[in-house]
């Protein structure tokens, strides 16, 4: 456990340092309360085993992770990311989730006026219910009452408010909780615009600098012969975050992008990271935020959601589009009753696998010219960032 805390802290320092070094500022950090690094349970073990688990996820029935126009993964954390007595590590995949719910009064006669927030980095996880409260929820369940919401947010932790809806005073509230950055912006440091862009840059730079472990391109039994494993290995070597869906996939795609000589419109001075994830500075120079975070969707469509979920309307961003970065999903009275010790885990299990984080790829503006002497250039397709399986 301690080494988990140590490496996560180290990682956070690396990321924060990288972010700070980039332009000398620490966008968003000051206004973020409780800069949560994450502590406690994350997967540990041999990198090959963990990367193969992630690789298997990309080949599991359905749910292709790599598309020609996006990389995607579920908002739910991978196995092994848990809450324990040291804290709650969930929220590792550029998406965090928590619960807002009504609670019965102590006498079990009505709901309290004020809803409670559970499982947020700044709040407790569980709710204790006495028998009267349990009977009340049971009766509410029979009426089909929805008493709470699972909130999924992909609003980058370094993207400050206000929200577009705050500007014109139209922000909704969810069970009395105002939608604003205090509660709805991600709080874990690593879930940031800067960190995600750096991840892309660092992974592709390993290729251009030829400093990554390439394995034997002629030996199919070499684990790094496989594109995904090679990329996942980079995530391990650089950050030890190979066990995440997001990092392993982003790194693999970025690696292939570089191995296959891809660039943005043929201009090799434009970095892939900036093309995929507009930096905060670039957005500010454009007049404001248009990329609040990775949009959320579901497997069948990038702009749809699982049954029981809906987008929280925070207004249109600068580009006139909805950011799709905040989603709420229903929690019934019966669910709160059954999962009162950790309703956030219900969110992960019930909805988290099908609320999908999308990283759009500007496919039409990318051009690839595999280098003649590239070790893995011979296997470059027209869309080499589609790793491990064909796009759907």
């Amino acid at each position: 456990m301690k080494h988990c805390i140590a490496f996560v802290f180290l990682f956070a320092c690396v990321m924060t340092t990288a972010a700070c070094d980039k332009d000398g500022s620490d966008d968003g950090q000051v206004s973020n309360q409780n800069n949560i690094v994450g502590k406690g349970d994350v997967p540990t073990g041999d990198w090959i085993g963990l990367c193969e688990e992630r690789e298997a996820d990309t080949t599991a029935t359905g749910k292709p992770r790599f598309l020609s126009n996006a990389i995607r993964w579920p908002a739910a954390d991978v196995e092994g990311v848990t809450a324990d007595e040291l804290g709650d590590d969930r929220g590792q995949e550029y998406a965090e989730y928590f619960v807002i719910t009504k609670v019965p009064n102590q006498g079990g006669t009505a709901f309290e006026e004020q809803s409670v927030v559970l499982g947020h980095p700044s709040t407790k996880l569980d709710i204790q219910l006495n028998d009267e409260q349990k009977f009340f929820l049971e009766d509410e369940e029979e009426k089909g009452s929805v008493v709470g919401q699972c909130i999924f947010t992909s609003w980058h932790s370094d993207v400050s408010g206000p929200l577009p809806c705050e500007v014109d005073g139209t922000c909704p509230n969810i069970l009395g909780q105002t939608v604003d950055e205090k509660l709805f912006r991600m709080m874990i440091l690593i879930n940031s615009n800067r960190a995600s862009s750096d991840l892309v840059e660092e992974c592709s730079r390993q290729v251009s600098a030829n400093t990554y472990k390439t394995g034997d391109s002629t030996d199919e039994t070499d684990v790094r012969h496989r594109d995904f494993m090679r990329g996942c290995g980079i995530a391990n070597d650089l950050f030890q975050t190979h066990w995440r869906s997001s990092d392993s996939q982003i790194c693999s795609a970025a690696m292939r992008f570089s191995e296959c000589g891809c660039s943005v419109g043929g201009d090799k001075s434009i970095t892939l990271g900036s093309a995929i994830i507009p930096s905060l500075r670039a957005q500010e120079e454009d007049g404001g935020i248009s990329y609040r975070g990775f949009p959320l969707g579901t497997w069948s469509d990038a702009s749809e959601l699982p049954v029981g979920c809906k987008y929280v309307d925070i207004g249109k961003e600068l580009d006139g589009k909805a950011s799709q970065t905040i989603v709420s999903c229903d929690i019934s009275a019966g669910t709160l009753l059954k999962r009162s010790e950790d309703p956030k885990e219900f969110c992960r299990q019930q909805y988290g696998e099908d609320v999908v984080v999308y990283v759009p790829i500007p496919e039409s503006s990318l051009e690839c010219d595999p280098p003649a002497n590239g070790q893995y250039a011979g296997t470059c397709s027209d869309t080499p960032w589609v790793v491990s399986r064909d796009e759907q």
Binding site: M1, D41, E52, E53, A56, D57, T59, A60, T61, G62, K63, A76, V78, E79, G80, T82, D84, E85, D131, E132, K134, F135, E138, E141, E142, G144, T298, W299, S300, P306, V307, G308, D330, S332, G334, L337, K338, R339, S340, E341, D342, E345, R348, Q349, E353, D354
Partner: protein, 564 residues
């Protein structure tokens, strides 16, 4: 002449329901005349639908044009659209889910598809309330859209009502209410008492990869083949075009919602005043006996198989309620845990259709544990830990319940039942069930911590009883690396954390075996034969032709002693 699939009708359960030759169990319902035609002046509607408040009954009463003989005109699409309207939904929000296997055809023949249809897909509260399924092939080798089995939620009765249309020629059908052949299949295992058991929607292959089901869009289907000659047939084509064709992933969430609703209703029975031993025993039956079974398969080439193939999935949630801490049993406690086997290169090598404990029972058990004055999680944990390496089809666990049930029908408890509610009886009956020859299987807490008898080997149950009476049961003794003395014993006493380690060690040992896939396949084959012999509502299962017809759970279901 309509194509007759009567024989296969006996085996049919698409994953939602089937026609069974066994019948005779009629759900509790209130009819003053047996369903069907009655003599006298009562009309068909009055006789058959009196007191029913479900979407199908409403349709029959208001729009169907059904005559005195229960005959009217319809087909699946028309009926589905009308039921959607009755429910207040857009007919375009109806959904058709397709499963295709050899259930309807003779061995060796090509698969044939069956449908499950729902309405109100976009309404989270209504989407689980109506189900329809055409279970037959017509003479054109197309889906027979006049023969339809269906059920719908009754708001007043708080349960599902069942119906069936039989084709009478052209668009004409005759309607049957609560058909006998449907009733048994939506209850528990054959031979198991079904007293106070609610009828349930059944989706055998409930979890991903939803073997044999269409999983698109969004997912790849697995073992889902539609014969070429069927693909162009008019009924099949009409029913499987967009926007109606949907993924089994959506049906799973719909069925789960139905299971939760039924479970919540069942749990409410504990609040009834004027306690009843039989009612309370029925509340406890799913804790001990497998009323329903599901079937899990490896997902594609990934080698991933749900953990509940080897460990009862409910134990993870029970133990999270009991507060396991630290590293103990992390691998299996993670609620999304999967077994990860090596990838395979051919589908024949996959582990497929492995019977596991039914999710409906798991959902119910957790509802009962969470409820006020329900079942204490420690009691549920103790039951699960008896013969725990047999996560499904445990004769031991089930016979504990059935033998007590038999006994209590004649040996009355010395209680003033009228002054009690059913929930008052729950701990009392649990003590009765978990006492053998005066020996209790319930351990007192030690230093405020729960303790359990961990029975690793179900065949050693009598030895455990003897050891308890002699106070000679050894302790689990788990070291800081998680290695436990209990791993090598037939039984032991352990704390919550000890249990977590013991189970994890078992899972690790399974996965570490060089023949893990063969071991799992052997276990799968054994369970499959039990499922086929004991549960009429089993699905089509490849490679099960060798199975016999004698149910190894017959003694357990009948309350005959199975304890070694």
């Amino acid at each position: 002449m309509r194509f007759n699939l009567r024989l296969t009708y006996l085996l049919l359960l698409s994953a939602v329901w089937m026609g069974c030759s066994e019948a005779s169990v009629v759900p509790e319902s209130d009819t003053t005349c047996t369903v069907g035609k009655c003599d006298g002046n009562q009309g068909w509607l009055e006789v058959n639908l009196s007191g029913r408040n479900d979407a199908i009954a409403t349709f029959l009463k208001t729009e169907s044009g059904v005559d005195e003989d229960g005959v009217f005109e319809t087909n699946l699409s028309t009926l589905q659209g009308q039921l959607a309207t009755i429910q207040g939904c857009n007919p375009a929000d109806s959904r058709n889910f397709v499963i295709s296997d050899q259930l309807l055809v003779a061995a060796g023949e090509e698969a044939f598809p069956r449908l499950v249809s729902t309405v109100c897909a976009k309404d989270a509260e209504k989407r689980w309330q109506v189900f329809l399924s055409p279970p037959e092939m017509n003479e054109d080798r197309d889906i027979d859209v006049q023969t339809i089995e269906m059920f719908a939620w009754d708001e007043d009765r708080q349960g599902f009502n069942f119906y069936k249309t039989t084709a009478e020629g052209g668009e004409t059908v005759s309607m049957e209410v609560e058909p006998d052949e449907c009733v048994r299949c939506h209850l528990g295992g054959d031979g198991l008492s079904v007293e106070h058991m609610p009828m349930l929607p059944v989706m055998n292959e409930l979890t991903q990869p939803w073997e044999h089901w269409n999983a698109a869009p969004g997912f790849d289907s697995q073992q889902h083949e539609i014969p070429e000659d069927v693909k162009d047939k008019p009924n099949y084509t009409a029913l499987t075009r967009q926007p109606w064709l949907a993924s089994a992933s959506e049906l799973e969430s719909t069925i789960r919602k139905a299971h939760e609703t039924v479970a919540n209703q069942r749990v409410r029975l504990r609040r009834k005043s004027g306690a009843s031993v039989s009612e309370t025993m029925s509340l406890l039956r799913p804790i001990f006996c497998d009323e329903q079974v599901n079937y899990v398969s490896e997902s594609g080439e990934s080698g991933q198989l749900l953990m509940n193939a080897v460990v009862d999935v409910s134990m993870r949630e029970i133990f999270s309620k009991l507060g396991v801490i630290g590293e103990a049993g992390k691998k299996w406690r993670d609620l999304n845990a999967r077994i990860r086997l090596s990838k395979v290169s051919s589908t024949e090598q996959r582990i497929s259709m492995m019977p596991v404990r039914g999710e409906s029972n798991v959902i119910y058990e957790l509802s009962l544990i969470a409820a006020a004055r329900g079942l204490e999680p420690a009691l549920a944990a103790q039951v699960r830990l008896l013969d725990w390496k047999t996560p499904v089809f445990s004769s031991l666990r089930c016979s504990l319940w059935t033998q007590t049930d038999e006994r209590l029908r004649t040996d009355r408890l010395d209680l003033d039942l009228e002054s009690l509610r059913n929930y008052d009886l729950i701990p009392i009956l649990m003590e009765e069930i978990l006492s053998i020859d005066g020996v209790s299987l319930l351990l007192q807490k030690e230093n405020e911590k729960d303790r359990f008898y961990i029975l690793n080997d179900g065949s050693q149950f009598k030895a455990l009883i003897a050891a308890i009476s002699e106070d000679s049961v050894e302790l689990a003794v788990c070291d800081e690396m998680g290695k436990c003395a209990c791993d090598d014993l037939p039984f032991c006493i352990g704390s919550v954390d000890d249990v977590a380690y013991v189970i994890e060690n078992h899972v690790e040992s399974i996965l570490a075996s060089p023949t893990v896939r063969d071991d799992l396949r052997k276990e799968r084959n054994s369970r499959v034969c039990t499922a086929k012999a004991c549960y009429s509502n089993h699905p089509f299962i490849e490679g099960s032709e060798h199975c016999g017809s004698i149910c190894p759970l017959d003694d357990a279901f009948a309350g005959r002693s199975t304890n070694n």
